[in-house]
């Protein structure tokens, strides 16, 4: 902490004709807090979970025979990437959303974003990958005679992550699509 105290105490200000400033507690506190907050970040090790995913429902309420829309928001921690759903090379494991069968869902449409072409130390070719935050759109077609009630469709996001010099084993994140089915003609308002 010595350099910080010195910074608050002994700084000379050009052109202000000031005496040597006294210890400014605000500055001192600020720098102490800053260092205390920043230090753990600086020493942080490789994160345990490099991919997080959550489901965002476009609407929490649906009617029988309608389409329930949602997005799987995937966050990949900086420094890592996961493969495109259509990977550039045949040996790479694709990112994939898989849904468990549900008797009330008669069809599904999953739309993946286009990957970003990136160059990595371990490949001569550009690889199409997902980095940062990406959204996978999911549309579920409901059965014509779905009875009113609360429903949950389970699924998982499968991925395989790498950084520039190492790869992590394939992993998955569980997903849960929750929605309420109301009678035809009932107001389509979300109820929590």
């Amino acid at each position: 902490m010595i350099p910080v105290v010195t910074a608050c105490w002994d700084v000379k200000f050009k052109g202000t004709m000031m005496k040597r400033p006294k210890l400014n507690m605000k500055t001192f506190s600020f720098t102490c807090i800053f260092v205390c907050l920043a230090a753990p970040v600086a020493w942080a090790q490789t994160p345990e979970q490099v991919v997080k995913a959550k489901v965002e429902m476009a609407s929490a309420v649906a009617r029988p025979n309608s389409v329930v829309r949602a997005a799987v928001v995937v966050e990949v921690v900086p420094g890592y990437h996961i493969n495109d759903h259509h990977p550039s090379l045949n040996y790479l494991i694709p990112t994939e959303v898989k849904l468990e069968p549900n008797p009330q869902v008669t069809g599904q449409d999953i739309t993946y974003p286009k990957g970003e072409p990136k160059k990595f130390a371990f490949s001569d070719a550009l690889l199409s990958v997902y980095q940062g935050t990406v959204r996978v759109d999911v549309a579920l077609q409901l059965e014509r005679k779905t009875p009113p009630g609360n429903y949950e469709v389970k699924g998982q996001l499968g991925y395989q992550a790498c950084n520039d010099h190492a790869c992590l084993p394939p992993a998955s994140v569980p997903l849960l699509f929750s929605f309420k089915v109301v009678r035809r003609g009932a107001p389509a308002r979300a109820s929590q």
Binding site: P3, V4, A7, C8, V11, F13, T16, M17, M18, K19, P21, K22, L23, N24, M25, K26, T27, F28, F30, T31, F34, V35, A38, A39, A42, W43, E48, Y91, L92, I93, F120, A121, F122, S123, L127, K154, Q160, C162, N163, H165, A166, C167, L168, P169, P170, A171, V173, P174, L176
Partner: protein
């Protein structure tokens, strides 16, 4: 130092220039805050760099030299050619044990270097052993042919990985000496020259005594601390927990408690069930360890 000194607006300026003095004082305060912040950033960055490039490598060197070379855990598998692959049969040889997978890009750039090393040093009592973490051997056999691999390769299982401390990044390479001890571990693609240097050091050592002068290569941050798994925890009825310190009653209590707790990983299972079906789940492992500690502390 008077910590309660009120902050005066003039900051030592004369009474004849109150406006200019106030401005200067404000500027000075802002300047102090700014400079303090900049110095703090420099300090933190400096500490980070010192830690990364000086302290951490030194600690790793310390950890991996001078008597901290654990015995390599046993491996007994069948290689992709159908032959028995037992690490015990390699005692007296220097072994590069490489955990890899066909879907791993960095492994693909490292393997040609290992093939060359096998060619170069096999006659001196050296072998590479590849443990693939692929699910099935079909793609491994194809890869073996494509990359003209000239050393034994087997498809591993979770237990082998756990015995070697858990394989969290691929490739992970262990350097095993003639005495059967692990001298170095590298996580991530490593410069072949670094591994070759380590192999040369180990080839020069006595087959019976621990090589205290071994110096692991330190490039690109791939050298890692050697931490092995605890067989009692790996083979436990609650995977990951060494239950040998618990009494029979405590074991039953723990199982009951873990059976009632829901795992927070999203699997919708109890912590106990999650431990049993997904050994890699860190959420259930953390909770299970905490519960076991509580029971051990309570002594009931």
């Amino acid at each position: 130092m008077d910590l309660n000194e009120p902050e005066g607006p003039a900051g030592g300026e004369g009474p004849g220039q109150p406006e200019a003095g106030g401005k200067v004082s404000r500027l000075a305060r802002r300047g102090k805050v700014l400079i303090g912040a900049v110095l703090a950033v420099i300090l933190v960055s400096g500490l980070y760099l010192v830690n990364r490039y000086w302290i951490a490598p030194a600690l790793r060197t310390q950890a991996m030299s001078g008597g901290d070379h654990p015995d390599a855990p046993p491996i007994s598998l069948t290689d992709i050619g159908g032959k028995k692959l037992d690490l015990a049969d390699y005692k007296g040889k220097v072994v590069v044990l490489d955990f890899w997978a066909t879907w791993c890009g960095p492994c693909r750039i490292e393997i040609p270097g290992l093939v060359e090393m096998q060619d170069k040093y096999a006659s001196q009592g050296f072998s590479v052993i590849g443990i693939s973490l692929d699910d099935e051997p079909g793609s491994v056999v194809e890869f073996y042919k494509e990359f003209k691999m000239n050393y034994p390769v087997a498809v591993g299982n979770p237990r082998v990985g756990e015995l070697y401390g858990g394989i969290f990044g691929l490739p992970t390479t262990f350097l095993i000496g003639r005495d059967g001890r692990i001298y170095a571990k590298h996580t991530g693609a490593t410069n072949p020259a670094v591994i070759e240097n380590e192999v040369q050091q180990l080839l020069a050592m006595s087959p019976t005594a621990e090589n205290m002068s071994f110096k692991p290569g330190m490039t690109a941050g791939t050298a890692s601390k050697i931490e092995l798994g605890d067989p009692a925890a790996i083979d436990s009825e609650i995977p990951g927990l060494n239950l040998t310190k618990l009494t029979a009653t405590q074991k039953e209590t723990l199982k009951k408690q873990l059976g009632e707790l829901k795992c927070s990983c999203g699997c919708n299972l109890s912590v106990l069930k999650c431990r049993q079906v997904d050994r890699a789940c860190r959420f259930s492992l953390k909770v299970a360890k905490e519960q076991m500690e509580k029971i051990l502390k309570s002594g009931v």
